[in-house]
């Protein structure tokens, strides 16, 4: 009986959890991309400063 109620809980929570995961994942992907670009740009600036 406990197994069935856990399953019912999962069933109820899954649609909302999927939507939250998609939103979190999209935000995470956007942040990761911006973070990498920013870091790469700073490295590029440091290298240019060293070479000049």
């Amino acid at each position: 009986m406990t197994g069935l109620s856990i399953f019912a809980l999962i069933e109820r929570a899954l649609p909302a959890a999927s939507i939250i995961a998609v939103a979190l994942g999209s935000a995470g992907a956007a942040w990761s991309y911006i973070h990498t670009r920013k870091r790469y740009y700073e490295e590029f600036k440091k290298r240019r400063h060293r070479d000049s």
Binding site: A21, S32, R39
Partner: protein, 136 residues
């Protein structure tokens, strides 16, 4: 001979595309091919195939993130955290497909799984983007 460096693709990127992405998509491609040629009631997309694709992508993400030589701890934590959340959710979705229920709207679940698979692919691309940036 294709020069991958010139076209901006390192060996790791090609390996990822072939061994991770393509292998993860084998169930999806096989089902699509069967749906195209078969006369029986085969669905073009199934939740379990997309879950398999997502599981392969995220396990590869965790592996690639751990292999990065110059890793920013914050970025690593975000990537690993998101991969773990997605892996747990994919497992739960697979659980519901094994024990189907009338209360669950299967077409809505398929749409949300498609959304999750697309986001998983985008997250993998951001990991690759970091690898491209680090490897020059």
């Amino acid at each position: 001979m294709i020069d991958y460096k010139t076209i901006g693709m390192g060996e790791r990127t090609v390996n990822w595309l072939v061994y991770t992405c393509l292998v993860g998509l084998i169930p999806v491609i096989a089902r699509l091919a069967l749906w195209a040629v078969s006369r029986s009631d085969v669905e073009p997309l199934a939740i379990s195939d997309l879950v398999a694709f997502g599981l392969v992508l995220h396990s590869a993400n965790i592996n690639e993130v751990s292999r990065l030589k110059v890793a920013d701890p914050r970025w690593t934590s975000v990537q690993n955290g998101l991969s773990i959340i997605f892996l747990i959710l994919y497992g739960l979705i697979l659980f519901t497909t094994i024990l189907p229920s009338d209360k669950l709207d299967s077409s809505a679940l398929l749409k949300s799984t498609i959304g999750m698979a697309v986001v998983s692919f985008l997250l993998s691309l951001t990991v690759l983007h970091r690898i491209w940036s680090e490897e020059g």
